[in-house]
Symmetry: C2
Subunit: 373 residues, 2 copies
């Protein structure tokens, strides 16, 4: 049994969907949960207190980015990620596997680990399962991730298989690093779009007995049907009593589909990145707030939304800020979009509790029929 204080309690199940709670050293939150992304130890343009007020209880940061800047030693010296960024809730750090894949041909991956040059100062960096976990121990997030080898889409099955096998070997090595009980190390399933590879990955990782499991390497450009098929089939081979985390997902419909298929945790840059591009999520669909028609619209971004932005500001004002190039636009839209995602998760949990999943799925499908970038 993994030695960790993290507690996952499944309180209700309907079909594959389930309602639960996760308790970490920094509080408890309900699942399925959406985690805003704060890559560089900040959810871009929003004060931590205002992120908290959107109903977000756990946020995600990134070991790769923090390792390069400001350095994991600096975060440790500050008292860890929570104190460094003044976030009172829980945190999770990704291992850097996904970022390393994003470097493409600029990275050299062997069984030992990944060698690449820093995107900041060009210096040589070597990331391995051990380096990544040690970095994450220094950073001190409540949930930390094994260093995995992601593959892009499309990729040959042979390449996908090798990366999956290597990811499992790396997971074993990650487990050999001392991790304090206050942190929980999750394994990551790989295997691209092949169900048999995903199955093999899930089964061999499960034998390592992690306190939680992630499905990685999805939402990288594969067809939507493949994406859903892999989520569905992979979940079946993961332990019932451990949280399941679908990495980098997602689009509103993906959150619904994922939750209904037994996923407990999600993270995605969509609410924050779209905010910076002037897009607001609402339950009536997405809005491009730059649109001229909002110039004289003195209603809130979304009628009935209880976020700070909707309580205190109008579409006309947010549009003015956007058009005038004022960064407060990103702040206001990010707050709203994060609240939208948290309200969506509330609706998902409610629909599971009340058996109204199909109605919710239809209502989201109508206004968010496809994945937006």
């Amino acid at each position: 049994m993994a030695q960790t204080d993290l507690v996952f309690s499944c309180r209700y199940q309907r079909g594959k969907a389930r309602l639960g709670t996760i308790r970490t050293a920094h509080g408890e939150f309900e699942t399925p949960v959406f985690m805003p992304v704060g890559t560089q130890a900040t959810v871009k343009s929003v004060l931590p207190h205002d992120v908290w007020e959107t109903g977000s209880k756990i946020i995600l940061s990134n070991a790769y980015h923090l390792y390069l800047r400001p350095g994991t030693g600096a975060v440790k010296a500050a008292g860890g990620l929570h104190r460094f960024m003044n976030w009172k809730g829980s945190t999770l750090t990704d291992s850097g596997g996904f970022q390393v894949m994003s470097l493409g041909s600029m990275v050299k991956v062997t069984d030992e680990g990944a060698s690449f040059r820093s995107h900041i100062d060009g210096s040589e960096v070597f990331f391995s399962p051990e380096v990544s976990v040690k970095a994450q121990v220094d950073i001190g997030a409540d949930i930390i991730m094994c260093f995995d080898q992601c593959v892009p889409y499309p990729v040959s099955k042979e390449v996908a298989r090798k990366a999956m096998v290597r990811t499992t070997l790396w997971a074993e090595r990650a487990k050999s690093v001392d991790v304090p009980r206050s942190q929980a190390l999750f394994g990551i399933v790989q295997g691209s779009v092949w169900s048999d590879l995903r199955k093999e990955s899930a089964i061999s990782l499960s034998r390592l007995d992690f306190p939680g499991y992630a499905i990685g390497g999805l939402a990288v450009g594969e067809p939507k049907e493949d994406f859903y098929e892999i989520v569905r089939s992979t979940v079946d081979y993961l332990p019932e009593d451990k949280p399941r985390y679908l990495m980098g997902v997602g689009h509103p419909l993906d959150l619904v589909e994922g939750s209904l298929n037994g996923v407990d945790m999600f993270d995605c840059v969509l609410p924050t990145r779209n905010a910076r591009h002037g897009r607001a999520f609402t339950f009536a669909g997405g809005l491009n707030i730059r649109n001229r028609k909002f110039a004289s619209d003195y209603g809130p971004l979304e009628e009935g939304c209880d976020c700070l932005t909707c309580r205190e500001f109008t579409r006309a004002y947010v549009r003015h800020l956007l058009v005038a190039g004022e960064t407060l636009a990103a702040t206001l839209l990010t707050i709203h979009n994060l609240r939208f995602f948290q309200r969506l998760m509330e609706r998902i949990r409610e629909s599971i509790r009340e058996g109204t999943e199909e109605r919710l799925r239809q209502s989201i499908l109508e206004v968010y029929p496809f994945r937006e970038g």
Copy 2:
């Protein structure tokens, strides 16, 4: 007598320096007062609530900018500037005179007004005393300004004289526009660095009986001695019972000198603009937070400061945000710098009350010996 609800009460005087209050339709504040700049109906990168928490009770916006974008009609339709930007305190709008001067050779000024092309879409714009006041009535700030002709520095005395005379003629025309009692229209003294021109301007404007007077056209590059000399001599020719506003000023030392010479109101972009460039004001001097030495400094920006940033974040974290290009750095530094300016004003008012002005002047002179850009 000007028909306005604005009330200025001078409660204490020591030498030329004085302590008072100004009451507007949106509350009362103590003078001498510092007004943060929110040119485009936003104090850049900070939520209005967080601006208020710095102790700022009145902020400045700009008729020229709002006229061009989003249009004064749009601000009026929103219910006025306060409601548009959700600012619960008082507001002041500048007339656009200074911005027109900044356009340099791209503007044509006649007795009628100023013709120029919009910096946003190149369309032709005509600004006159009447247009500017009407725009400011639509915007609805508590204090509004006459449209003045600023001149750059250096300039010939003849050009300065003509602009000063024209500014007075324009002030008469501005007074002919209907302004609601909830707003107060201030006159603006011009005359560049010539005391006799400033005197003539102040005397003729005073005859028009405005509820307040500004000293404009300073802090545009003139030598510091000229600047102080003009402030000192101009104040002598302005009515005792009306507030005096030194526009676009200033540097910490200028706030001290201005206050001790009988100025009641100030505005300046220094705290907000410097924040965006990574500079923090403290009573021990200015800090460039990008400096590498702050990377491992886990103290607040300023020991003893009670601002949100100093209560909750460290120098190391703010530096990390700056170096990582995160906009939250500007938010945190702006909050701190605004609080510094408000604390400085508190110290100035206290020094006037207690007769310790000279000690305060020396302490500020030691750490802010010259004006910073």
